[in-house]
Amino acid sequence: MTRAAAARERVPDGVPEDRRGALRRDLATRRLGRVLGWAVPLVALAFLWLPIAVLVGFSFNDAASVSTWRGFSLRWYENVFSSLSGSGSRFQTDLLLRSVMNSLWVASVSTVIATALGTMFALAVARGRFPGRKLFDALFYLPVVIPDITMGVSLAVFFRIVFEAWQQWTGLRLVSGFGTIIVAHVAFNVAYVAIVVRARLATMDPSLEEAARDLGANDWQAFWRITFPILFPGVLAGALLAFTLSLDDFVITFFTAGVGTTTLPLFVYGLLKQRVPPEINAVSTLMIVASIVLVGLSLVLQRRGARRGEG
């Protein structure tokens, strides 16, 4: 098709009869492509956002329904927050609050450990000279690609065996709880942190460190004065990723949690598996708002960190 014809979107008069059919088909294809080119993305975005919009909208519904609107009301939010003031609603707010605290606790501790370990691993693999470096490099990606469910059950089996061995050895009986959840979360987060830090490390100029050494810095000084400040945005990004993944994880926690260590995702799952209470729309909306705030905050932090790191 000539570009002039494309510009006019119709078959020009001078085209010989035997070429008109093909040209008309080409123009029809172009028109179809143009329509699909914006219609499909529109449908995709609507598909992604509509359920969330409906959920948020109906959390303000006066009726306990997600299809018929019966006027604006804050009663579900009141129910969620009411047992705080002791007015005694039927909703298990104390359990919800405890699960939020549990989630934050697990995420904080596992993020700190995973960030420290992940950064060290990234440095060791990038800088170290030891046999099997390539293999370790590949090992990083394993926890990322292995299905959650496989990781969850393998950790469950692992803890059971370790606990049995421990009991036979010392006579003390260990049970699953925060310890096992945190170990499990660190196990998958270390890999994510290491990958993010490595990406940052790859863009770093190694001559900076050499210059520091030439100017008389020892390894310790060179690391803390040169390498770490440059790596910091990567470390921060890795930590934020780890924190988010840890807060969000359901499957692996599901297999490693014990009694009384319900995290927020476990709590939500419990609600969904039972008779779904109408308050869940309000709880979900609060979770969506919290994650948007968290993501926005992390983007701002990352941008600042990146500017400082490069400046």
Partner: protein, 265 residues
């Protein structure tokens, strides 16, 4: 490094060993060695494995069908700010908790949900249609969950695409159809492979979506594994099933590493 080996490779090794052992009291693995669990996995649960592969393939195809035009649309916006906002709109649902997102979708497709409400009101169907707890619902849920994984690598590939190749194709007389299939598609194929594997791999191991949205006809490998490990299950059998799952996932990983888009967006 020791951490990875201790809490990652060792547990996997234990599961691998357990899968070759006999089921003892309370579902725990004991001696002697046996292959019966693998046999049972393929004999009894073969249909579930095929169904899982089918679901994952269908999910990948649907994500590609919707995700490719979306990625192209975003990447071809002129202003960087618009591209950023659109990417953000695709990614933001992804940062919301997976359970919450699945629940949001359930509220739409359930029997008393908004979709049925409108289908009945518009007279398209007489009575509400059972959509939840069907295989369709599971695939819909998987597409909903993993669509951003498809959009991102394709977006990266399209953005990197040198527009001059497309112009050259037009100048050499290609129409839109040929320009797409002979130039644009081959050049963005690494992104397509990467996106497809990023959808296919987690879809294979999906557990939450089929658990909450599928009925008995929507069971996937993940549900089989879970049911063998909770309560008085059968740990060796569950281990064998997860080993099979692992092998399938690794095939996907090899495809990704060999033909997929390398650098991250």
């Amino acid at each position: 490094m020791a951490w990875l080996v201790l809490f990652f490779l060792l547990p996997l090794l234990f599961v691998g060993i357990a899968s070759f052992m006999t089921r003892g009291a309370g579902g725990q693995p004991i001696q002697p060695w046996t292959l019966e669990h693998y046999q049972r996995t393929f004999d009894v649960f073969g249909p579930v494995i095929w169904r899982t592969l089918g679901f994952a393939a269908l999910t990948t195809a649907l994500c590609l069908l919707v995700g490719y035009p979306t990625a192209v649309y975003i990447a071809s916006r002129q202003r960087p700010a618009v591209r950023l906002v659109l990417l953000f709109l695709v990614l933001l649902p992804f940062w919301t908790n997976f359970l919450v997102r699945t629940y949001a979708l359930i509220t739409i497709v359930q029997r008393e949900g908004l979709l049925n409400e409108w289908l009945v009101r518009l007279g398209i169907v007489q009575d509400p249609v059972q959509m939840l707890f069907t295989p369709t619902a599971v695939v819909l849920g998987l597409v909903y969950g993993y669509l951003p994984f498809m959009v991102l690598p394709i977006y990266a590939a399209v953005e990197r695409l040198d527009r001059r190749y497309v112009e050259a194709a037009y100048d050499l007389g290609a129409n839109d159809w040929r320009a797409f299939w002979r130039v644009i598609w081959p050049l963005t194929l690494p992104g397509v492979v990467a996106g497809s594997m990023l959808v296919f791999i987690p879809a294979i191991g999906a557990f939450v979506t089929p658990d909450l949205m599928g009925g008995t006809g929507g069971l996937m490998i993940g549900n089989l594994v879970q049911s063998q490990f909770r309560g008085r299950g059968n740990v060796p059998l569950g281990s064998a099933i997860s080993m099979v799952l692992l092998v399938i996932v690794f095939v996907g990983v090899v495809v990704y590493a060999r033909w997929g888009e390398r650098s991250d967006p």
